[in-house]
Amino acid sequence: MARTILEIRDLEKVYDGGFTALHAVSLDIREGEIFALLGPNGAGKTTLIGTICGLVQPSGGRVTVAGHDTATEYRAARSLIGLVPQEVNLEPFEKVINTVRFSRGLFGKPRNEALIEHVLRQLSLWDKRDSQIRALSGGMKRRVLIAKALAHEPRILFLDEPTAGVDVELRRDMWEVVRGLKEDGVTIILTTHYIEEAEAMADRVGVITRGRLLLVEDKDALMSRLGRKELVIELREPLKAVPDELAGHGLEVLGDGRLLFTYDTQAERTGITRLLAAVQASGLHLRDVETRTSSLEEIFVGLVTEENGADQSGEAAP
């Protein structure tokens, strides 16, 4: 297993107003992975990133980056981190290449025009290097933010909602960029509330809501552990209602006359054999059988609803 590059222990943040944004969050990030932090708006994703990167003062806990404490050895820790913020925060009148050079200088790195060129080319910004930032499209501006974050050769890159408000084509484009960075050996932590994004890119997924990390797991394992599968049965004759012979199997009739059976892959008995036997016994003729895995989105919604439900019942207790 890859070594841990970022270690978060009992990280807490209570804002001045008394709002607790992070409840003792602990998390290890492995070198070279893409980690997706998933959560609804206001879950604490941006606060967590801000606390690690130095934008927000933690109220408690400890963070180390490659062994460097972000509080006591902030120079060593921060120089390993690149941050791409959620908002497109750029000086509108500055030229692309100057703002990227500025970022490198700010992190104390000597001038390196070859590297700047490499970063700009990698992000398809080289042709735009002398353009003022205000003249760029929204997607290009996001690329400039990434270029700035990469200008000092970080080993960890934080992407806070990299594709929020970006059209589908550009989103896929951005994913390609991120995959390319992973191939270069950069560890990537991205926050998102698009499940599709986590599903498409992440090696591991963490789910956060109301400042608590609900779970951290390998994406595939998570999906198979919590995944529910659906079996769609198509008969020769479309159905309007569940036939009496098949009642008691929890079937639903879909709009197109097919039958839907939902089962848990982890259950001891999935009920498939029993169902198919019943179909055969009833004399109905199968035309097609199809299975699908439920998406991460459904898993996520299930988790968050569960947590919120638990919270509310807790509050109602005397």
Binding site: L55, L83, N89, F93, R104, G105, G108, K109
Partner: protein, 253 residues
């Protein structure tokens, strides 16, 4: 010490200056020339001289101070306020830099620009009046100290300000009146005795008096006091900036 970071901030700020050359340099020079025309030539011709010096020459140090103070404050306050406004402050906060380095970058850039403009105005004034500089080394020292301390002051205002109105408020409502009442256009000794005493509570009196002494050898207050006042102001500003960065006030929630 992350010297490269200081240099990066300095370069970035100076490039803003050169990008907006008209607004940054031409406008203060034009304004000051107008002062020379109005106060030096038109009104000054009726005033003749103050303490043995032609009125045109008498107001040169005050005019330079007026512009330098405004420039140092507005450059530094805008320099740090703008990243807060457009959100690029995230980069400063997440970079491996200390408060000293960030302050040094912005304050040095703002002070340099103010100093440049001060020197340009000085050069311009030679076109309007006959001018001798009695103590050139002290003149430069006063100018540099003023640029630095008021750039620091502007930096604090920029961190404090939460909107553009607040950003303009202190320079407009406090600094400009203090400069006008600080003897930029007259000698304190020309005031009635009661107002002379009131003037001694105006810190800008010490600045202008000291600066005028370096030009003309004339001073409203002893030059040592002037030096002391500006140094004390510099230290107070430094202490405030140190506190701001330690506490994260208005920067790091």
């Amino acid at each position: 010490m992350n010297l490269r970071a200081i240099a990066a901030i300095f370069r970035f700020e100076m490039s803003r200056t050169f990008r907006t050359l008209g607004q940054s340099v031409v406008s203060p020079v034009l304004t000051t020339s107008l002062y020379f025309v109005v106060f030096g030539a038109a009104i000054g011709s009726r005033i003749q001289e103050v303490e043995g010096v032609s009125y045109g020459a008498f107001i040169v140090p005050g005019l330079i101070m007026l512009t330098v103070l405004q420039q140092a404050i507005s450059n530094a306050s805008f320099g740090i306020y703008f990243p807060k406004f457009v959100g690029t402050i995230y980069e400063l906060l997440s970079a491996p830099v200390s408060f000293l380095e960030v302050t040094a970058g912005y304050v040095l850039a703002a002070a340099t620009k103010a100093l440049m403009i001060g020197l340009i105005i000085l050069a311009t004034s030679f076109f309007f009046v006959d001018l001798n500089i009695a103590h050139p080394v002290w003149m430069v020292a006063f100018l540099v100290l003023t640029c630095l301390s008021f750039a620091l002051f502007g930096f604090i205002i920029g961190i404090w300000a939460q909107n553009f109105e607040q950003l303009q408020m202190v320079p407009l409502l406090a600094v400009t009146p203090l400069v006008f009442l600080g003897g930029a256009f007259y000698s304190i000794s020309m005031l009635p005795p009661a107002w002379q005493t009131v003037s001694l509570f105006n810190p800008v009196v010490y600045l202008i008096s000291g600066f005028r002494w370096s030009f003309l050898g004339l001073a409203d207050v002893p030059v040592g006091w002037s030096l002391l006042a500006i140094t004390a102001f510099l230290i107070a500003c430094l202490a405030t900036v140190a506190w701001i960065f330690r506490s994260g006030w208005r920067l790091r929630p």
